[in-house]
Symmetry: C3
Subunit: 339 residues, 3 copies
């Protein structure tokens, strides 16, 4: 592909970085330390990969000052090489150009409003009273129900479903297969049968949120399910009805939050972790992967549950003892029990 | 919205409840205790929210008798306020009207039979010999394969896939993105390569079942995978081939049941919980969230695995000791070991 | 259905098996031991079901030699009855015939190349420069983006999305709702806001891979996410960006691998299990269901985490003691602590 190239000094000036080495060397692409050639820009952020630096053929490497001392090639020095690389890489990323207009196959209700600068793909359905803003992109096969709104410059990947009453802010990015606004799981047992509780709320998603592939966010029972600005959800996540997630919180793949829980701002929820319903997590809580949050958390910090990985034979011994733990503890010398 | 309103006495008579307070007060909508205004009906079921009652502006609140004693407003008394609210809320829920007919874009095989009173959305495919009953609603983008049947008044959200040989009872509700009838995961290792085991069964779903968004239910290898009547599945659930789930069982989000397991009636499977293959769970088993069922269960009751949530520093200490548990247990005084 | 029938001796000769009993008995279908009639072929592989043999009405049963001694009916003897049954069942499986051609509703970019012997279903979108090979089947509602390739005889179920730069080998089978090639979850925190890291790589899938319904495989940040040949993924699995999975590895439903992890060949990852990012697992590692892999594994074998299932009352006691484990361990007699 015919991509523009940039010199080290140009990149340094544009992004406020310092050059060490040949300021005139030019790069036209980004790559990993291992795969990069002399016309590629690479980065070193995770110390795990430091050993790859010496043998890398990258033209320029973004790194911390302390890693540059021992490096003979051209470096761009950044306090946070990963963040710097994120900005640099965007220069080289082939961004799909928006082609405003509605694909002739799309089925759009007459009361829906699609901005002339939005792009609507093939086989898209848009329901009554739904509004699509300027610069929005709706991927092929999306189904958008009634009373939704899609803010400016938001983008929906293919086969996304917004069921009903889903309001997206600006620059929201939703990946393929996600479902927002399906009924919450509200059931009451009556006379030996389940009775469905009507789900009358919606989903509100703030600006700059990202929602992963095949993730599901149910609409509220009465009030809305809410994601504040800049919430980042990975793939395969489940968000129950009336959950509220604070700004700048990120959740990794396969995690889940049950109904009516409130997650604070700047939280990090690990992959496969779960939060039970009706709990509250304060700001800046970190939950490690596959942990289950069973009570509200009032202090910022890192929380965990589970047991460490072991070879199965050893694990079986520990697991058998886990079942006996209370009995074993009671067998400790009695005079110490009262300590 | 121009909704009908109801007086407290009208609601009490219609649903067999008792009024405390102003029997003539009218409500036109439902809401939460916190958000409700004087023309709204709210409810108090979870004691967690009892403190919200005093400051609520709701016109009418559904609650238990014991909560009404201290309440100055108008109350509707119910033994089970949540179930009562479920019925009341349905009065106010704007129900989408069915518009019988087939969207002109739909692709329907000539041997398929769609009842004249069914509604088929845009970009729907329906395969050979599939039957769609009266009052059924098929959302936009659904793909229904061969030899399926969709019972009366069943509803499929958008982008649902029924792969093949999927038979749904009456009043089944399937949310967007669910996939029923994909191949079960059947593999045999032969000569160092995987050999695919043909999946020749189907999926049978009883009346009044609900299946969540992006949930997957594989078809059986030989016999069918079966959900009896009134089974309720939340989002992102995985049901393996030849699983059998008893009537009135409910499973929360992200839970999973491996192949050929049998779950009884009136079971409750918590979020993220797993059941290994070929096990049997009797009726009325409760599995708490993120527990793993590794053996059959013959007694009703509640079952759990996992460890409690702890701050990460404390958890690391316990986790390190878990690995030593058998050694530690052997260090207990020898004379007590035989107890 | 009018299916062909086969005699025991015909089946034995075709698949290299030994007949015990009536070599002329004919079967026309496959079934389970419990459901089979006299014109059905069944199998006994799992000893769990041995008790079903005596009362089975199956015409022929595939089994191991040691099970045949006590069996009065007709048996086909196999060292691995499950693998033998897999091959036998394929004889009876009604295989959907490929109908080459492109459904008139499909939206295919002019620079895409679809082989004349491929089958493309209704409402399929295919993007620029994508190539579809001979004998490939693309199910209804699939959305295939730019720069993808689909190898010969590969099959995509309904509503599958290949986002961009996804290259599939030959005979790859992808079930409904799967999403390959969505953005990896790459974020850098800068000035209190998340910065998206561009995801410039693709996804490479080897020959003979199978990918389950609603499974997601993200594309790489720079290099590709890679599945080698004959990798088998069940439903609802999440594979992060730049993950590399070795040939013949199988993963059960709801498992997940975080970014940049490398899984070896012939590994078995249990249902709901997780592997953290940047780890390496050698060949022939078995991870049991719902275990979390938190460190690299260099030795083949079986690994586990978690605790056994208990009745909730007993579990609560053990769980409470788990929190005290370090304190309890320190209370062990001091003279033994040094052992």
């Amino acid at each position: 592909m015919d991509r523009p190239s940039f010199s080290a000094v140009e990149l340094a000036e544009r992004f406020g970085l310092v050059v060490c080495g040949d300021a005139d060397i030019r790069v036209a692409n980004v790559s990993t330390l291992v795969s990069a050639g002399e016309s590629d820009l690479a980065f070193l952020a995770n110390p795990r990969y430091r050993s790859q630096l010496a043998s890398s053929s990258a033209g320029i490497v973004v790194m911390r000052a302390e890693d540059a001392d021992a490096y003979g090639g051209t470096a761009l020095i950044a306090d946070d090489p990963y963040a710097a690389f994120a900005r640099l890489a965007a220069l080289f990323a082939p961004r799909a150009e928006i082609v405003p207009g509605i694909h002739p196959s799309a089925a759009i209700e007459s009361s829906a409003q699609v901005h002339a600068d939005a792009q609507v793909g093939a086989f898209v359905s848009i329901g009554d009273r739904t509004v699509v803003g300027a610069g929005a992109v709706i991927g092929a096969g999306c189904v958008i129900g009634e009373d939704c709104s899609i803010g400016e410059d938001s983008e929906l990947g293919a086969n996304v479903t917004l069921v009903t009453r889903v309001r997206l802010g600006k620059r929201v990015l939703i990946h393929a297969g996600a479902v927002l606004g399906a009924d919450g799981f509200g059931l009451a047992m009556e006379g030996g049968r389940w009775l469905k509780v009507p789900q009358l709320g919606g989903v509100t998603v703030g600006d700059d949120c990202e929602i992963g592939a095949n993730t599901t966010i149910d609409r509220g029972a009465l009030d809305d399910t809410v994601l504040e600005d800049d919430v980042r959800l990975d793939n395969q996540i489940q968000i129950g009805h009336n959950v509220h997630i604070g700004a700048h919180t990120a959740m990794a793949g396969c995690s889940a939050v049950a109904g009516s829980a409130r997650i604070g701002r700047y939280c990090l929820i690990g992959g496969g972790a779960g939060v039970l319903g009706h709990l509250e997590l304060c700001d800046r809580v970190v939950v490690t992967a596959m942990s289950l949050v069973t009570h509200s958390i009032r202090d910022p910090g890192e929380y965990s549950s589970g047991t460490p990985l072991m070879d199965n034979r050893s694990w079986r011994k520990s697991a058998a003892r886990f079942k006996q733990l209370d009995t074993l503890a009671r067998r400790l010398p009695a005079d110490k029990e009262s300590e």
